[in-house]
Point group: C2
Amino acid sequence: MRIRDLIVTPIAFSDPPLLNADGVHEPLALRTIVQLIVEGGVVGLGEGSGGTEVAGRVEQVRSAVVGLSVFDLNGIEAAVNAALGGDAGPLSRRDRRVVYSMLDVAAHDAQGKLTGLPVAELLGGRVRDRVPYSAYLFYKWAGHPRSAAIDDVEPDVWGEALDPVGIVAQARALIDRYGFGSIKLKGGVFPPDEEIAAIRALAEAFPGLPLRIDPNGAWTHDTAVRVARELDGVLEYLEDPVLGIDGMAAVAREVSQPLATNMCVVTFEQLAEAFAQDAVQIVLSDHHYWGGLRHTRELAAICGHWGVGVSMHSNSHLGISLAAMTHVAAATPELAYACDTHYPWNRAEDVVMPGAVEIVGGAVAVPTAPGLGVVLDEAALERQHRVYLDSGRTARDDTGYMRSFEPTYSPTLPRY
Amino acid sequence: MRIRDLIVTPIAFSDPPLLNADGVHEPLALRTIVQLIVEGGVVGLGEGSGGTEVAGRVEQVRSAVVGLSVFDLNGIEAAVNAALGGDAGPLSRRDRRVVYSMLDVAAHDAQGKLTGLPVAELLGGRVRDRVPYSAYLFYKWAGHPRSAAIDDVEPDVWGEALDPVGIVAQARALIDRYGFGSIKLKGGVFPPDEEIAAIRALAEAFPGLPLRIDPNGAWTHDTAVRVARELDGVLEYLEDPVLGIDGMAAVAREVSQPLATNMCVVTFEQLAEAFAQDAVQIVLSDHHYWGGLRHTRELAAICGHWGVGVSMHSNSHLGISLAAMTHVAAATPELAYACDTHYPWNRAEDVVMPGAVEIVGGAVAVPTAPGLGVVLDEAALERQHRVYLDSGRTARDDTGYMRSFEPTYSPTLPRY
């Protein structure tokens, strides 16, 4: 059961013009698909961050992992670390974990196929049969501009959402289609009073649904405290209102809202300091940079022991990642919130066969087939790889794209 | 792959008169052996704490785990917790984990047999092929007394060890036979100066070998600080010189020795406080009460992230536990010390076939057969179960046994 080969395929797929504190999503999102070929022909699938640099890093570890047992996660992790230069090399631990995470997912998929077990069983067994996800709302333009004239857009199916009315309409569309039972709004885009109004409009339109807002650190301390107090009792949690562990701790001392993060705590090395300061009450896990599925479970266990909550973060992603997120969430008792997912925004150009991971009633049923339970659509993979090659895109640049319409746009935070 | 039955067998086996801060080991040590019978006939083996009460608790969870998938560790753990009353019940989390731990080991053994994988592979792959153990020295009498006259002994093969000369001779015998490359002395028995002299004698007799002493909290703060300073540079670490997290933290502030514990930190719930106080620099893991193999790996991961060292504790045990300890140690990158083991003292009456887990050159080669890699000796199990039944022993009582010779013996700590 040794690894015989590793195939790395950078891809690109359509993404709507979703606004955030960095700028706006480009017309193409980037992602990396890995296939771990095991002796005997079993193929494990993994998906992770995109772009030329990351794909190159995965290529760089190929010869180091070929020949290892696909069950030897410790060995694969050590080989990846060493091939990328270790602590003395140019990459941070987090950057190395991003590479390892893709292989970890692919190894789990292969392990499941080899043993006949779903990945959730390999992770200790599912504690829930369905994993709830939240409706992930974004301020957005009506479509990507055809030119530097920002009003000259090619309208998409989602429509414009630049105010409370637009946000409520977007929520309605997502909830009608997917049955989401909780809502997250990506904020940090407009002045806080506008975003507070959007949250209040959501609370009125969807009474009883848990609500969150995530300005990605766009606010000053005073703004964060003011928003938290104004929305006290309205939000389930407030995500990354300010930047940094010290900043979050200072806000936490003044508000009663639980604070969540996927920004100031992104590596195991930051947990001790963050917990000592009581800077965050909820950590958003993400197997794509916490080191794969097993280490994500470890993160959740740690949070549980320290009395810190666990939720789950998402970036633009496709079905392999949704399956992996669903399996690890299913096997994580500490997870107590609906997970984030961008899947509704990106699923149209997925590279797996449809049907295995579907959001129904606001949740994904945990696949029971061996491994991740998704099947690669090889033609789709080839197609999206071609899109990547033809695009000439090499890295995500929300700020640069925004500047092509607003040349003076600055992503400097805090903004408000 | 569902659990069809759980067979619980309390056993007893010969134990030499090993002295400690509680008193002295009785002629029989107690242990519980579990067999998890899986559909299709695979049997997973587990071993844990002994005595009537613990065996009864394992019996109590039998009907709750029958019918569960042997891969569903989360489900088995939840079922054990619920069957024992949960947080509202009479048992502490640690007591419930003691029960779950046996099933966890047996489930891993069965999983390995079902998938063809050694347990170390199920735990993420071995990072070492051989797991080092330390020579575990004890002050001891020449043999168990035949009567209340403490000098009227039945000599055993180990001989007396009541002073530095005896301790060095015991170390020599263990090292000659097993090749141990490090030494631990169970202390807290004699006045500290005598134990310091024993450590100095060991340092002289075995230059270069790491040395530890464990008085099990028998010392006052001042004694602990004095001993630590006198043995500065001589000890690898000092284990549980005093009782409690606060006490250990106070000692740690005054000495340069790393302090280790298996007494003041025995549950995940104690980690935050212990780490916040920097009370211990090394945690001794023990899968028998940290919740089995997977949670022991979690403990080690946590220690690694907090910059705390990891070693491994042992109680009197037989071969199933030695195999389990070896597999989890093999799959734990953070483990940086030789593990403790009582195996040399107890192996003569083991219930597994000989040869699978042997200490050679101070280490046990990680078994490569599926599961734990040990084979139950059913006749031996029946024999040691009969010994248990015939003995009438129900619980370990080192203090009561000591009092049968020294009626005024008090186990109250600190003693010195």
